[in-house]
Symmetry: C2
């Protein structure tokens, strides 16, 4: 077999970078669980009719068939790989509604697949970390306040570039456009969503052409989109535009609660940004987009919002609010640029040197004792000269070598060597497991 | 949308059972890392030509295509979902050989897919946990001794039924059959592999028909297959059959080393069982199969062996030895029978009661302080009567409710309530995170 080539759009990590990914996923899981979110894991496949409910993504879906399936055999037809974790959540909630406790708080960290053209930050296979709260019939708006707090706790301990979460509220936008006199506020939202790409003039043109908006209406829409603040001051700036609408008022109040609580907990993380529209029709309250400082061109690395009509089974409605961290989008570009690296390439903390082949069982016992105390170790693969065994450790970044004959342990970075008891010796906390190193 | 139905062969877990699965995967990962195995995660897809190298599994492969792919567009054709973690490992090693350190020890816990007819213990999507050691050119046989020790450390702390790992050695079998005078020892291995299904008479018939074996040869083959022992005594029993062959001697020595070391570390786990054949041609040394006491009908839950010809790139050969735990096969039947359950259904340890809606921010601060000390908690969703809030906790198995107004915490299982300081109070260790409960 010749050396296989990498598959474009299906990134894989070497053992060192994979340790970084593991630490990120561990930290996210830990933070989500501290906030009471339970893990679920859904199957990779969904029925096509579920995946295609939002028509716009249909061309990105990977469809499955069994290689040897008979033409007439349809048991496997109609399955595709999920392209996000929201469609599987909606289906899981409906399927298990009778067995779940509501409000249902779950997190889910899994790969998703989209047959898109690959580019930096966009992959055909990518990991997402989602948190959602789904309730039955009604969902309290304080969960829209909670989500940025969870994300703050999840991301703050990681050595990532600074994050800014831009939030808006669908009721605020829709109410404002309605208050301005635009007949189809959702259409206006879809146009405002293009502001980044086509600029204010382009948006103005579209608002006029598509919706017949007047110059005054267009001016107000563009002024609203320019308002942003890291505290509740945006409320007054909106009020100064003198547009009134009951839904606008609700939206202002909800957004002020989100921004106010976030300003107290993690100042600078959350910005009220009234240009944030998010194209998808299904949002009905707060919407979130998050950018990584210096990496804005990747797009949002943590997005979501409130959706009142995610799922319904006829009898009950299941409104929810959720945020999705693009784990691959966030960390693969940082790994590729060597901004993040692992402190070593293997979990091993101690290499037990092997004086001669006959000592292997004795060395295994030393290793087993250290492992029993939570210290990762392995015995050298062969009884080579100690210089070679030390180089074996160096090449992998293993910090300590244990010499069974002298009963000493050496920190091979500093060269310090001292007598050690296998029942009491412990490495400094930061050496116990490999961690993440930030290089700037 | 009507209530969706489960998909046969694609098992999904409710939040409680999912906690059991999480704890199992955590424990396996922890044990593997303590032994110096690093994690890798490979993409879900492999080129079809890789997947079909072993022709026998071709009918089980799920093939992908993009829903909107043009007929002529072949960029996505030729991809299938992996059906095990060995094919991806072989490809990963060849692709990254220049960047890996050998011997390369890795573990990998991921789903695999096979389009088989689903039955208990056999699923279309299932999780495997694999450990392998791959070296360049030569692989020391002490790694064949190491693997059962790693598996023992991985499984022993879990409340699973007793495991018995049956081991044999391909050199022993091949050498013995050759020593007996059978021309095609691999053909004999494939026939002996059917012993469980067709019995000694069936095997005798096939050995005669297919290989022209004499009555004496058949008797020796069947006698070998009856030998088993939990210590090195099998060696003498084989020698008493008076068959001599240099490869047989090598195999006896290697198998004695595996069984001897295991008998010291975890008596009863490993049995030398000379009937174990494993059908696959690519094994060249130790072979392993593991059965769960009372659940033998599920088949082996942890299998593998040594393969000297897993991968070669023309210049180098990469021999390896590996074991694969069938995580889904092992735990889903136990979950379905309620033998294993989670101690509670959510990660939350403390519910902070909400005296009134205005106190939410104060309650959030209490929760944040507890979380900062590693205690998972959430604030009650609404300021209902305390009785209702306590029932909210009970339904989820949350053990503690914190009352902010009185500054007291109640263990709602015992009803005990006492004053507590948010900066110092901690639950007993076993309540901190949900664990696994064994019910027999």
């Amino acid at each position: 077999m010749n050396r296989p080539a990498a598959l474009s759009g299906f990134p894989e990590l070497l053992p060192g970078p994979r340790i970084v990914e593991q630490r990120v996923v561990e930290q996210l899981s830990r933070a989500f669980e501290l906030h009471g979110y339970g893990s679920i894991s859904t199957r990779a496949v969904e029925p096509l009719e579920q995946l295609l409910r939002k028509g716009e993504t249909s061309k990105e879906v990977y469809v499955l068939r069994r290689l040897q399936a008979e033409e007439a055999d349809s048991t496997d037809s109609g399955l595709g790989l999920h392209f996000d974790l929201t469609v599987p959540l909606a289906r899981y909630v409906l399927e298990n509604a009778g067995k779940l406790q509501f409000p249902f708080k779950r997190y889910q960290i899994q790969p998703c697949w989209r047959g898109e053209r690959p580019q930096e930050g966009r992959y055909r296979e990518f990991w997402q970390a989602d948190i959602d709260i789904v309730d039955r019939d009604d969902l309290s708006s304080h969960y829209e306040v909670e989500l940025p707090q969870v994300i703050s706790d999840a991301l703050k301990p990681l050595p990532l570039p600074r994050m800014t979460m831009h939030v808006n509220n669908r009721k605020l936008s829709q109410g404002f456009y309605r208050g301005v006199g635009i007949d189809d506020p959702m259409a206006a939202i879809r146009i405002i969503d293009k502001l980044d790409k086509i600029g204010p003039d382009g948006v103005a043109g579209l608002l006029e052409e598509t919706l017949g908006a007047t110059a005054d209406q267009i001016r107000l829409c563009l002024e609203l989109a320019q308002i942003n603040s890291t505290d509740e001051s945006f409320v007054d700036r909106v009020r100064r535009l003198k547009v009134t609408d009951p839904m606008l008022e609700e939206g202002l109040e909800e957004l002020a609660a989100v921004v106010g609580a976030a300003a107290e907990q993690d100042p600078g993380l959350v910005v009220a940004d009234l240009s944030i529209a998010r194209g998808l029709d299904y949002y009905t309250g707060t919407v979130y987009e998050t950018f990584m400082s210096g990496y804005e061109s990747l797009g949002s690395v943590c997005s979501g919002g409130r959706y009142d009509n995610l799922a319904t089974d006829g009898k009950n409605r299941y409104p929810g609010v959720g945020l999705s961290i693009g784990v691959s989008r966030m960390i693969i570009p940082l790994l590729n640029r060597n901004v993040l690296a692992a402190t070593r390439d293997v979990p091993t903390c101690v290499l037990v040197a092997l004086p001669d082949a006959e000592s292997r069982r004795d060395c295994d016992r030393i290793a087993a004792t250290l492992r029993g105390r939570g210290i990762a170790c392995e015995v050298a693969p062969a009884a080579q000269k100690y210089g070679k065994q030390i180089r074996f450790a160096q090449r992998r970044g293993i910090p300590y070598v244990w010499f069974p004959d002298s009963g000493e342990v050496r920190d091979i970075r500093s060269g310090e060597q001292s007598a050690a008891d296998v029942h009491t010796w412990a490495p400094p906390r930061e050496d116990l497991r490999p961690g993440i190193l930030r290089r700037d």
